[in-house]
Protein backbone atom coordinates (compact mmCIF):
# COMPACT_ATOMS: atom_id res chain seq x y z
CA UNK A 1 0.00 0.00 0.00
CA UNK A 2 1.51 3.30 -1.09
CA UNK A 3 0.08 6.76 -0.48
CA UNK A 4 2.34 8.55 -2.99
CA UNK A 5 3.05 11.73 -1.00
CA UNK A 6 4.13 12.35 2.64
CA UNK A 7 1.08 14.53 3.44
CA UNK A 8 -1.24 11.54 2.93
CA UNK A 9 0.86 9.47 5.36
CA UNK A 10 0.59 12.30 7.93
CA UNK A 11 -3.18 12.40 7.46
CA UNK A 12 -3.41 8.62 7.74
CA UNK A 13 -1.33 8.42 10.92
CA UNK A 14 -3.18 11.37 12.48
CA UNK A 15 -6.52 9.72 11.74
CA UNK A 16 -5.31 6.43 13.25
CA UNK A 17 -4.32 8.27 16.46
CA UNK A 18 -7.66 10.07 16.55
CA UNK A 19 -9.48 6.78 15.95
CA UNK A 20 -7.72 5.33 19.01
CA UNK A 21 -8.90 8.33 21.08
CA UNK A 22 -12.44 8.00 19.77
CA UNK A 23 -12.42 4.22 20.42
CA UNK A 24 -11.39 4.83 24.05
CA UNK A 25 -14.16 7.43 24.30
CA UNK A 26 -16.66 4.97 22.81
CA UNK A 27 -15.75 2.39 25.43
CA UNK A 28 -16.10 4.88 28.31
CA UNK A 29 -19.29 6.40 26.88
CA UNK A 30 -20.99 2.99 26.88
CA UNK A 31 -20.59 2.90 30.68
CA UNK A 32 -21.77 6.48 31.07
CA UNK A 33 -24.90 5.93 28.95
CA UNK A 34 -25.81 2.88 31.05
CA UNK A 35 -25.05 4.18 34.54
CA UNK A 36 -25.27 8.00 34.53
CA UNK A 37 -27.25 9.37 37.48
CA UNK A 38 -26.25 12.91 38.35
CA UNK A 39 -28.25 12.92 41.58
CA UNK A 40 -26.25 10.02 42.99
CA UNK A 41 -23.33 10.63 45.36
CA UNK A 42 -21.96 7.12 45.01
CA UNK A 43 -18.32 6.66 44.10
CA UNK A 44 -19.36 5.17 40.74
CA UNK A 45 -21.12 8.42 39.75
CA UNK A 46 -18.12 10.54 40.76
CA UNK A 47 -15.93 8.18 38.70
CA UNK A 48 -18.28 8.54 35.73
CA UNK A 49 -18.16 12.33 36.01
CA UNK A 50 -14.35 12.24 35.90
CA UNK A 51 -14.42 9.86 32.94
CA UNK A 52 -16.98 12.01 31.17
CA UNK A 53 -14.61 14.97 31.55
CA UNK A 54 -11.84 12.82 30.07
CA UNK A 55 -14.02 11.87 27.08
CA UNK A 56 -14.90 15.54 26.58
CA UNK A 57 -11.23 16.45 26.39
CA UNK A 58 -10.38 13.54 24.06
CA UNK A 59 -13.25 14.21 21.67
CA UNK A 60 -12.92 17.98 21.84
CA UNK A 61 -9.29 17.89 20.79
CA UNK A 62 -9.84 15.10 18.25
CA UNK A 63 -12.63 17.03 16.59
CA UNK A 64 -10.83 20.35 16.84
CA UNK A 65 -7.85 18.73 15.10
CA UNK A 66 -10.10 17.59 12.25
CA UNK A 67 -10.35 21.18 11.02
CA UNK A 68 -6.61 21.76 10.36
CA UNK A 69 -6.42 18.16 9.12
CA UNK A 70 -9.16 18.94 6.62
CA UNK A 71 -7.13 21.87 5.31
CA UNK A 72 -4.12 19.54 5.05
CA UNK A 73 -6.33 17.05 3.20
CA UNK A 74 -7.29 19.68 0.62
CA UNK A 75 -3.66 20.71 0.32
CA UNK A 76 -2.64 17.05 -0.11
CA UNK A 77 -5.25 16.52 -2.84
CA UNK A 78 -3.91 19.60 -4.58
CA UNK A 79 -0.31 18.44 -4.25
CA UNK A 80 -1.23 14.95 -5.45
CA UNK A 81 -2.23 16.52 -8.75
CA UNK A 82 1.49 17.04 -9.43
CA UNK A 83 2.11 13.30 -9.57
CA UNK A 84 -1.03 12.22 -11.42
CA UNK A 85 -0.88 12.42 -15.22
CA UNK A 86 -3.64 14.67 -16.56
CA UNK A 87 -4.51 16.32 -13.24
CA UNK A 88 -4.18 20.11 -13.11
CA UNK A 89 -5.51 20.55 -9.56
CA UNK A 90 -7.24 18.70 -6.72
CA UNK A 91 -10.26 18.02 -8.96
CA UNK A 92 -8.19 15.42 -10.84
CA UNK A 93 -6.96 13.68 -7.70
CA UNK A 94 -10.38 13.74 -6.03
CA UNK A 95 -11.80 11.96 -9.08
CA UNK A 96 -8.89 9.53 -9.44
CA UNK A 97 -10.88 6.74 -7.77
CA UNK A 98 -14.62 6.20 -7.26
CA UNK A 99 -14.09 6.84 -3.52
CA UNK A 100 -12.51 10.31 -3.80
CA UNK A 101 -15.70 12.34 -4.01
CA UNK A 102 -17.37 10.22 -1.32
CA UNK A 103 -14.38 10.82 0.93
CA UNK A 104 -14.58 14.58 0.37
CA UNK A 105 -18.33 14.66 1.10
CA UNK A 106 -17.84 12.43 4.15
CA UNK A 107 -15.13 14.72 5.49
CA UNK A 108 -17.35 17.81 5.03
CA UNK A 109 -20.30 16.06 6.68
CA UNK A 110 -18.11 14.89 9.57
CA UNK A 111 -16.71 18.35 10.23
CA UNK A 112 -20.22 19.74 10.61
CA UNK A 113 -21.44 16.72 12.59
CA UNK A 114 -18.44 16.82 14.94
CA UNK A 115 -18.95 20.56 15.34
CA UNK A 116 -22.52 19.89 16.47
CA UNK A 117 -21.07 17.57 19.11
CA UNK A 118 -18.73 20.34 20.25
CA UNK A 119 -21.70 22.72 20.56
CA UNK A 120 -23.63 20.21 22.71
CA UNK A 121 -20.51 19.62 24.82
CA UNK A 122 -20.17 23.38 25.36
CA UNK A 123 -23.83 23.63 26.38
CA UNK A 124 -23.36 20.72 28.77
CA UNK A 125 -20.35 22.32 30.46
CA UNK A 126 -22.39 25.48 30.97
CA UNK A 127 -25.05 23.73 33.03
CA UNK A 128 -24.64 23.16 36.75
CA UNK A 129 -26.25 19.72 36.59
CA UNK A 130 -24.48 18.55 33.39
CA UNK A 131 -27.89 17.96 31.86
CA UNK A 132 -26.71 17.14 28.33
CA UNK A 133 -24.04 14.64 29.35
CA UNK A 134 -26.09 11.58 28.42
CA UNK A 135 -27.08 13.12 25.08
CA UNK A 136 -23.51 13.95 24.10
CA UNK A 137 -22.33 10.46 25.03
CA UNK A 138 -25.17 8.92 23.04
CA UNK A 139 -23.72 10.67 19.99
CA UNK A 140 -20.25 9.16 20.48
CA UNK A 141 -21.15 5.84 18.73
CA UNK A 142 -22.25 7.90 15.70
CA UNK A 143 -19.03 9.91 15.88
CA UNK A 144 -17.13 6.61 15.88
CA UNK A 145 -19.07 5.16 12.95
CA UNK A 146 -18.69 8.34 10.87
CA UNK A 147 -15.01 8.56 11.69
CA UNK A 148 -14.41 4.88 10.90
CA UNK A 149 -16.32 5.24 7.61
CA UNK A 150 -14.18 8.24 6.71
CA UNK A 151 -10.98 6.36 7.49
CA UNK A 152 -12.13 3.38 5.41
CA UNK A 153 -12.89 5.65 2.46
CA UNK A 154 -9.54 7.34 3.00
CA UNK A 155 -7.64 4.05 2.69
CA UNK A 156 -9.76 2.83 -0.24
CA UNK A 157 -9.23 6.11 -2.06
CA UNK A 158 -5.55 6.84 -1.53
CA UNK A 159 -4.39 3.22 -1.70
CA UNK A 160 -6.37 2.83 -4.92
CA UNK A 161 -4.78 5.71 -6.79
CA UNK A 162 -2.56 4.43 -9.58
CA UNK A 163 -0.02 7.09 -10.65
CA UNK A 164 0.33 5.40 -14.02
CA UNK A 165 -3.33 5.90 -14.94
CA UNK A 166 -4.19 9.31 -16.38
CA UNK A 167 -6.99 11.27 -14.74
CA UNK A 168 -9.17 14.08 -16.07
CA UNK A 169 -8.42 17.72 -15.43
CA UNK A 170 -10.96 20.01 -13.82
CA UNK A 171 -12.17 21.61 -17.06
CA UNK A 172 -12.87 18.20 -18.56
CA UNK A 173 -14.67 17.09 -15.41
CA UNK A 174 -16.84 20.16 -14.91
CA UNK A 175 -17.79 20.69 -18.51
CA UNK A 176 -18.49 17.08 -19.45
CA UNK A 177 -20.67 16.32 -16.45
CA UNK A 178 -24.32 16.79 -17.22
CA UNK A 179 -25.27 17.55 -13.65
CA UNK A 180 -28.25 19.71 -12.78
CA UNK A 181 -26.26 22.51 -11.24
CA UNK A 182 -24.21 23.05 -14.42
CA UNK A 183 -27.40 23.67 -16.35
CA UNK A 184 -28.28 26.56 -14.03
CA UNK A 185 -25.74 28.83 -15.66
CA UNK A 186 -23.31 31.28 -14.07
CA UNK A 187 -25.45 34.41 -13.78
CA UNK A 188 -28.52 32.50 -12.63
CA UNK A 189 -26.50 30.75 -9.95
CA UNK A 190 -25.25 34.12 -8.70
CA UNK A 191 -28.78 35.58 -8.68
CA UNK A 192 -30.04 32.60 -6.65
CA UNK A 193 -27.07 32.96 -4.31
CA UNK A 194 -27.76 36.71 -3.90
CA UNK A 195 -31.47 36.14 -3.19
CA UNK A 196 -30.40 33.53 -0.65
CA UNK A 197 -28.15 36.09 1.02
CA UNK A 198 -30.90 38.74 1.08
CA UNK A 199 -33.28 36.25 2.74
CA UNK A 200 -30.54 35.29 5.19
CA UNK A 201 -30.07 38.96 6.09
CA UNK A 202 -33.81 39.53 6.54
CA UNK A 203 -34.23 36.49 8.76
CA UNK A 204 -31.22 37.63 10.78
CA UNK A 205 -32.56 41.16 11.18
CA UNK A 206 -36.07 39.99 12.10
CA UNK A 207 -34.70 37.21 14.33
CA UNK A 208 -36.47 34.34 12.62
CA UNK A 209 -34.15 31.66 13.99
CA UNK A 210 -35.57 28.58 12.28
CA UNK A 211 -35.87 30.33 8.93
CA UNK A 212 -32.32 31.63 9.36
CA UNK A 213 -31.11 28.08 9.91
CA UNK A 214 -32.90 26.80 6.80
CA UNK A 215 -31.53 29.61 4.63
CA UNK A 216 -28.10 29.13 6.17
CA UNK A 217 -28.24 25.45 5.20
CA UNK A 218 -29.26 26.31 1.62
CA UNK A 219 -26.63 29.07 1.56
CA UNK A 220 -23.90 26.43 1.85
CA UNK A 221 -25.00 24.86 -1.45
CA UNK A 222 -25.96 27.99 -3.40
CA UNK A 223 -22.66 29.63 -2.48
CA UNK A 224 -20.55 26.70 -3.65
CA UNK A 225 -22.51 26.39 -6.91
CA UNK A 226 -22.21 30.13 -7.48
CA UNK A 227 -18.51 29.99 -6.64
CA UNK A 228 -17.92 27.29 -9.26
CA UNK A 229 -20.19 28.67 -11.99
CA UNK A 230 -19.81 32.42 -11.52
CA UNK A 231 -17.39 33.93 -8.99
CA UNK A 232 -14.65 31.39 -9.73
CA UNK A 233 -14.61 32.35 -13.41
CA UNK A 234 -13.79 35.94 -12.35
CA UNK A 235 -11.02 34.72 -10.07
CA UNK A 236 -9.56 32.79 -13.02
CA UNK A 237 -10.64 35.52 -15.47
CA UNK A 238 -11.72 32.74 -17.79
CA UNK A 239 -15.42 31.97 -18.39
CA UNK A 240 -14.79 28.32 -19.26
CA UNK A 241 -12.75 27.54 -16.18
CA UNK A 242 -15.23 25.92 -13.79
CA UNK A 243 -13.41 24.48 -10.82
CA UNK A 244 -13.77 24.69 -7.04
CA UNK A 245 -10.18 23.53 -6.45
CA UNK A 246 -7.89 25.71 -8.61
CA UNK A 247 -8.79 28.59 -6.26
CA UNK A 248 -6.65 26.87 -3.67
CA UNK A 249 -3.49 27.22 -5.74
CA UNK A 250 -0.72 29.78 -5.33
CA UNK A 251 -1.43 31.20 -8.78
CA UNK A 252 -4.68 32.58 -7.40
CA UNK A 253 -3.18 33.72 -4.08
CA UNK A 254 -4.68 30.70 -2.28
CA UNK A 255 -7.93 32.69 -2.15
CA UNK A 256 -9.90 29.43 -2.07
CA UNK A 257 -8.80 28.88 1.52
CA UNK A 258 -10.30 32.26 2.43
CA UNK A 259 -13.55 31.50 0.54
CA UNK A 260 -14.00 28.10 2.15
CA UNK A 261 -12.95 29.22 5.65
CA UNK A 262 -15.48 32.07 5.63
CA UNK A 263 -18.18 29.78 4.28
CA UNK A 264 -17.40 27.13 6.88
CA UNK A 265 -17.42 29.61 9.77
CA UNK A 266 -20.62 31.30 8.59
CA UNK A 267 -22.56 28.09 8.10
CA UNK A 268 -21.04 26.43 11.16
CA UNK A 269 -22.09 29.24 13.49
CA UNK A 270 -25.53 29.15 11.85
CA UNK A 271 -25.83 25.44 12.62
CA UNK A 272 -24.47 26.07 16.15
CA UNK A 273 -27.09 28.72 16.86
CA UNK A 274 -29.81 26.34 15.72
CA UNK A 275 -28.47 23.39 17.74
CA UNK A 276 -28.20 25.65 20.80
CA UNK A 277 -31.85 26.62 20.38
CA UNK A 278 -32.91 23.05 19.69
CA UNK A 279 -31.11 21.53 22.68
CA UNK A 280 -31.34 24.25 25.31
CA UNK A 281 -34.45 26.07 24.09
CA UNK A 282 -32.55 29.37 24.26
CA UNK A 283 -31.61 31.32 21.18
CA UNK A 284 -28.08 32.62 21.02
CA UNK A 285 -28.00 36.04 19.37
CA UNK A 286 -24.23 36.13 19.74
CA UNK A 287 -23.58 32.92 17.79
CA UNK A 288 -26.10 33.89 15.11
CA UNK A 289 -24.38 37.26 14.75
CA UNK A 290 -21.05 35.48 14.20
CA UNK A 291 -22.72 33.38 11.53
CA UNK A 292 -24.16 36.42 9.79
CA UNK A 293 -20.84 38.28 9.90
CA UNK A 294 -18.91 35.41 8.27
CA UNK A 295 -21.67 34.71 5.73
CA UNK A 296 -21.66 38.43 4.86
CA UNK A 297 -17.87 38.47 4.48
CA UNK A 298 -18.20 35.49 2.13
CA UNK A 299 -20.84 37.32 0.13
CA UNK A 300 -18.69 40.47 -0.07
CA UNK A 301 -15.72 38.39 -1.27
CA UNK A 302 -17.95 36.69 -3.86
CA UNK A 303 -19.12 40.07 -5.15
CA UNK A 304 -15.67 41.63 -5.04
CA UNK A 305 -14.15 39.54 -7.85
CA UNK A 306 -16.86 40.08 -10.52
CA UNK A 307 -17.21 43.74 -9.56
CA UNK A 308 -13.50 44.50 -9.66
CA UNK A 309 -13.29 42.70 -13.02
CA UNK A 310 -16.16 44.79 -14.36
CA UNK A 311 -14.69 48.05 -13.06
CA UNK A 312 -11.32 47.39 -14.64
CA UNK A 313 -12.57 45.88 -17.95
CA UNK A 314 -16.00 47.57 -18.32
CA UNK A 315 -17.50 44.24 -19.27
CA UNK A 316 -18.78 41.02 -17.70
CA UNK A 317 -17.40 37.63 -18.58
Amino acid sequence: MSFLIPEVYILFLSDIILLVFISISLFISAGIIRNWDFASSADRQYRLEKRSALVSVLIKYSLALKIPLFILFIYAEDKLADVLPGAMCAAGSVNATPYGKLLLYMKIFNIYFFSVWLVINRLDMKTEDLRYTRLKHMLIPFVFVCFAAELTLFVLNFAGIDPAVPVSCCTALFTSESSVFLSIGGRNSFIIFSINYVLLSLFFIFRRHTLYFITNFIYFFTSIISLILFTGTYVYELPTHLCPFCLLQGGYWYVGYLFYTLLFLGTFFGVSAFITKLVSGKSSEYIQRQSFIFNSLYFILSVYYPLSYFLSHRTWL
Binding site: F38, S41, A42, D43, Y46, E49, E128, D129, L130
Partner: protein, 216 residues
Protein backbone atom coordinates in the same frame (compact mmCIF):
# COMPACT_ATOMS: atom_id res chain seq x y z
CA UNK B 1 -25.23 25.52 56.96
CA UNK B 2 -22.45 23.15 55.91
CA UNK B 3 -23.45 19.50 55.73
CA UNK B 4 -21.01 16.70 54.91
CA UNK B 5 -22.68 13.33 54.52
CA UNK B 6 -20.65 10.12 54.39
CA UNK B 7 -17.79 11.82 52.60
CA UNK B 8 -14.83 9.75 51.49
CA UNK B 9 -11.76 11.08 49.74
CA UNK B 10 -9.26 8.65 48.27
CA UNK B 11 -6.24 10.08 46.50
CA UNK B 12 -4.43 8.42 43.63
CA UNK B 13 -2.34 5.69 45.21
CA UNK B 14 -5.13 4.58 47.51
CA UNK B 15 -4.52 6.95 50.45
CA UNK B 16 -7.85 7.81 52.11
CA UNK B 17 -7.44 10.59 54.69
CA UNK B 18 -11.22 10.86 54.98
CA UNK B 19 -13.56 7.91 54.97
CA UNK B 20 -17.32 8.02 55.50
CA UNK B 21 -17.07 11.39 57.34
CA UNK B 22 -20.22 13.27 58.32
CA UNK B 23 -20.47 16.74 59.84
CA UNK B 24 -22.92 19.63 60.28
CA UNK B 25 -21.81 23.20 60.85
CA UNK B 26 -24.46 25.81 61.63
CA UNK B 27 -24.46 29.27 60.09
CA UNK B 28 -22.27 31.66 62.11
CA UNK B 29 -20.63 28.84 64.03
CA UNK B 30 -16.88 28.68 64.69
CA UNK B 31 -15.44 25.20 64.30
CA UNK B 32 -11.89 24.10 64.94
CA UNK B 33 -10.70 20.96 63.22
CA UNK B 34 -7.90 19.73 65.38
CA UNK B 35 -5.57 16.86 64.70
CA UNK B 36 -2.05 15.93 63.78
CA UNK B 37 -0.41 16.74 60.48
CA UNK B 38 -1.69 14.39 57.79
CA UNK B 39 -4.90 13.62 59.64
CA UNK B 40 -7.08 15.01 56.87
CA UNK B 41 -7.81 18.56 58.09
CA UNK B 42 -6.61 20.29 54.92
CA UNK B 43 -8.45 17.75 52.79
CA UNK B 44 -11.67 18.58 54.64
CA UNK B 45 -11.18 22.30 54.06
CA UNK B 46 -10.39 21.72 50.37
CA UNK B 47 -13.59 19.68 50.05
CA UNK B 48 -15.66 22.43 51.71
CA UNK B 49 -14.11 24.97 49.35
CA UNK B 50 -14.90 22.75 46.31
CA UNK B 51 -11.20 22.81 45.48
CA UNK B 52 -11.29 19.03 45.25
CA UNK B 53 -14.13 16.54 44.79
CA UNK B 54 -14.90 13.67 47.12
CA UNK B 55 -14.64 10.07 45.98
CA UNK B 56 -18.14 9.54 47.36
CA UNK B 57 -20.65 11.30 49.58
CA UNK B 58 -22.43 14.64 49.60
CA UNK B 59 -21.30 18.10 50.62
CA UNK B 60 -24.10 20.65 50.82
CA UNK B 61 -23.68 24.30 51.73
CA UNK B 62 -26.85 26.35 52.18
CA UNK B 63 -28.74 23.73 50.20
CA UNK B 64 -26.31 23.69 47.26
CA UNK B 65 -24.55 20.42 46.45
CA UNK B 66 -21.06 21.80 46.01
CA UNK B 67 -19.29 18.46 45.64
CA UNK B 68 -20.85 17.94 42.24
CA UNK B 69 -20.34 21.40 40.82
CA UNK B 70 -18.50 21.55 37.49
CA UNK B 71 -15.24 23.52 37.78
CA UNK B 72 -16.57 26.80 36.33
CA UNK B 73 -19.48 26.79 38.77
CA UNK B 74 -17.22 25.77 41.65
CA UNK B 75 -14.96 28.76 40.96
CA UNK B 76 -17.99 31.06 40.90
CA UNK B 77 -19.31 29.55 44.13
CA UNK B 78 -15.94 30.07 45.86
CA UNK B 79 -15.74 33.65 44.66
CA UNK B 80 -19.19 34.49 46.03
CA UNK B 81 -19.25 32.51 49.26
CA UNK B 82 -15.87 31.40 50.52
CA UNK B 83 -12.76 33.10 51.86
CA UNK B 84 -9.72 30.90 52.18
CA UNK B 85 -6.68 31.61 54.34
CA UNK B 86 -3.90 29.26 53.34
CA UNK B 87 -1.11 28.11 55.63
CA UNK B 88 1.58 29.50 53.33
CA UNK B 89 -0.55 32.51 52.30
CA UNK B 90 -0.25 31.88 48.51
CA UNK B 91 0.25 35.59 47.81
CA UNK B 92 1.48 36.71 44.39
CA UNK B 93 5.05 37.81 45.17
CA UNK B 94 5.42 40.37 42.37
CA UNK B 95 2.31 42.34 43.43
CA UNK B 96 1.79 44.83 46.24
CA UNK B 97 -0.44 44.07 49.22
CA UNK B 98 -3.40 46.00 47.82
CA UNK B 99 -2.99 44.42 44.39
CA UNK B 100 -3.02 40.94 45.94
CA UNK B 101 -6.20 41.76 47.80
CA UNK B 102 -7.88 43.04 44.63
CA UNK B 103 -7.26 39.82 42.67
CA UNK B 104 -10.43 37.88 43.68
CA UNK B 105 -12.66 40.73 42.53
CA UNK B 106 -11.03 41.27 39.12
CA UNK B 107 -13.41 38.91 37.25
CA UNK B 108 -16.53 40.44 38.82
CA UNK B 109 -16.81 43.41 36.48
CA UNK B 110 -16.52 46.00 39.26
CA UNK B 111 -14.47 49.08 38.40
CA UNK B 112 -10.84 49.06 39.51
CA UNK B 113 -11.55 52.19 41.54
CA UNK B 114 -14.30 50.42 43.54
CA UNK B 115 -12.22 47.29 44.02
CA UNK B 116 -9.24 49.28 45.28
CA UNK B 117 -11.48 51.25 47.67
CA UNK B 118 -12.83 47.99 49.11
CA UNK B 119 -9.32 46.59 49.46
CA UNK B 120 -8.12 49.74 51.24
CA UNK B 121 -11.07 49.56 53.67
CA UNK B 122 -10.19 46.02 54.65
CA UNK B 123 -6.49 46.83 54.95
CA UNK B 124 -7.38 49.73 57.25
CA UNK B 125 -9.49 47.47 59.45
CA UNK B 126 -6.46 45.19 59.81
CA UNK B 127 -4.11 48.15 60.55
CA UNK B 128 -2.28 47.59 57.28
CA UNK B 129 -3.18 50.75 55.35
CA UNK B 130 0.39 52.07 55.44
CA UNK B 131 1.66 48.87 53.80
CA UNK B 132 -0.85 48.87 50.95
CA UNK B 133 1.63 49.72 48.23
CA UNK B 134 4.50 47.63 49.50
CA UNK B 135 5.44 44.56 47.50
CA UNK B 136 4.34 41.54 49.56
CA UNK B 137 7.77 39.91 49.34
CA UNK B 138 9.04 42.83 51.46
CA UNK B 139 6.39 42.37 54.19
CA UNK B 140 6.99 40.51 57.45
CA UNK B 141 5.32 37.15 58.11
CA UNK B 142 2.55 38.74 60.16
CA UNK B 143 1.91 41.40 57.53
CA UNK B 144 1.74 38.74 54.83
CA UNK B 145 -0.70 36.81 57.01
CA UNK B 146 -2.94 39.87 57.38
CA UNK B 147 -2.72 40.52 53.64
CA UNK B 148 -3.90 36.94 53.07
CA UNK B 149 -6.76 37.50 55.52
CA UNK B 150 -7.71 40.73 53.77
CA UNK B 151 -7.76 38.90 50.44
CA UNK B 152 -10.02 36.23 51.96
CA UNK B 153 -12.41 38.95 53.15
CA UNK B 154 -12.56 41.14 50.03
CA UNK B 155 -15.56 39.29 48.57
CA UNK B 156 -17.40 39.55 51.90
CA UNK B 157 -17.73 35.76 52.25
CA UNK B 158 -20.19 34.03 54.53
CA UNK B 159 -17.71 31.26 55.23
CA UNK B 160 -14.03 31.59 56.14
CA UNK B 161 -11.81 28.53 55.88
CA UNK B 162 -8.39 28.82 57.49
CA UNK B 163 -5.72 26.16 57.15
CA UNK B 164 -3.12 26.20 59.97
CA UNK B 165 -3.30 30.00 60.13
CA UNK B 166 -0.85 30.34 63.04
CA UNK B 167 1.75 27.89 61.78
CA UNK B 168 4.20 30.64 60.76
CA UNK B 169 3.35 33.23 63.41
CA UNK B 170 4.91 34.15 66.75
CA UNK B 171 2.89 34.51 69.97
CA UNK B 172 2.07 38.21 69.50
CA UNK B 173 0.88 37.75 65.93
CA UNK B 174 -1.14 34.70 66.94
CA UNK B 175 -2.96 36.84 69.51
CA UNK B 176 -3.64 39.49 66.90
CA UNK B 177 -4.97 36.87 64.50
CA UNK B 178 -7.19 35.42 67.21
CA UNK B 179 -8.72 38.88 67.71
CA UNK B 180 -9.40 39.02 63.98
CA UNK B 181 -11.13 35.65 64.10
CA UNK B 182 -13.26 36.78 67.04
CA UNK B 183 -14.30 39.86 65.09
CA UNK B 184 -15.22 37.75 62.07
CA UNK B 185 -17.26 35.48 64.31
CA UNK B 186 -19.04 38.49 65.85
CA UNK B 187 -19.92 39.63 62.33
CA UNK B 188 -21.82 36.34 61.95
CA UNK B 189 -19.45 34.61 59.58
CA UNK B 190 -18.99 30.86 59.71
CA UNK B 191 -15.38 30.01 60.57
CA UNK B 192 -13.76 26.66 59.99
CA UNK B 193 -10.18 26.58 61.22
CA UNK B 194 -7.88 23.62 60.79
CA UNK B 195 -5.12 23.73 63.39
CA UNK B 196 -3.05 21.67 65.76
CA UNK B 197 -2.10 24.80 67.73
CA UNK B 198 -3.62 24.40 71.20
CA UNK B 199 -3.06 28.12 71.95
CA UNK B 200 -5.45 29.07 69.16
CA UNK B 201 -7.98 26.52 70.41
CA UNK B 202 -7.82 27.97 73.91
CA UNK B 203 -8.11 31.53 72.64
CA UNK B 204 -11.43 30.76 70.92
CA UNK B 205 -13.42 29.24 73.80
CA UNK B 206 -16.77 29.52 72.02
CA UNK B 207 -15.54 27.36 69.14
CA UNK B 208 -16.69 23.79 68.67
CA UNK B 209 -13.68 21.53 68.52
CA UNK B 210 -13.75 18.49 66.30
CA UNK B 211 -10.81 16.16 66.78
CA UNK B 212 -9.93 14.19 63.74
CA UNK B 213 -7.46 11.40 63.28
CA UNK B 214 -6.03 9.44 60.39
CA UNK B 215 -8.64 7.97 58.12
CA UNK B 216 -11.64 9.62 59.80
Amino acid sequence: MIVMDSVTKTYTGGVSPISGFSLEIREGETVILSGESGSGKSTLLSLMAALIRPTSGDITIDGKKIAKLPEDFAALYRRENIGIIFQSYHLLPHLTAVENICVPLLPTGLSMKDITAKAMNILSSLNMADKANVNVSKLSGGEQQRTAIARALINNPKIILADEPTANLDRKLTDSLTDTFRRMSDEGRTLVIATHDSALTEALPHARIISIGHGI
